[in-house]
Symmetry: C2
Subunit: 83 residues, 2 copies
């Protein structure tokens, strides 16, 4: 399982769109607060693998390309832990 | 904007995976409770247009194919309204 503290540290970039508390700053982006850990992992990997396309998916493809499997697991642990 | 009551009525099928209260029944599926309305709309449309692929996306592609634009707007209004 991911490391919540490492995920929090890594989340600074994510916060620009998804909010410091996991509540998105604009309604076109998803809230991540309390989202299921496993779903967050599979979603980020789907962007990284370019299985998610269209609309703003290109933004997340670019972000996900910079994340290792370990980064992804840590971010998922962090966002799913937010209440 | 969508009709919350109509969305709730339409959500019976969604509840099988996403939960009656918008909290997913298994961790591989996303919670929808309180998710941003606009994001829900763009996500369902991305599945309908087969812009989201891989993993379990085929499940949502099939479900989304049965939804009209009006159904999608109503479902988004309903799930985003859940607190």
């Amino acid at each position: 399982a991911g490391d919540i503290a490492a995920g929090k540290a890594k989340s600074a970039v994510c916060a620009a769109c998804h909010g410091a508390d996991g509540i998105a700053v604009i309604p076109g982006y998803p809230n991540l607060k309390g989202q299921n850990e496993q779903y967050i992992i599979s979603s980020i990997k789907a962007y990284k693998d370019k299985q998610r396309n269209g609309g703003l998916a290109v933004v997340m493809q670019a972000q996900a390309a910079m994340l290792s499997d370990s980064d992804i697991a840590n971010l998922a642990a962090y966002y799913s832990s937010l209440k």
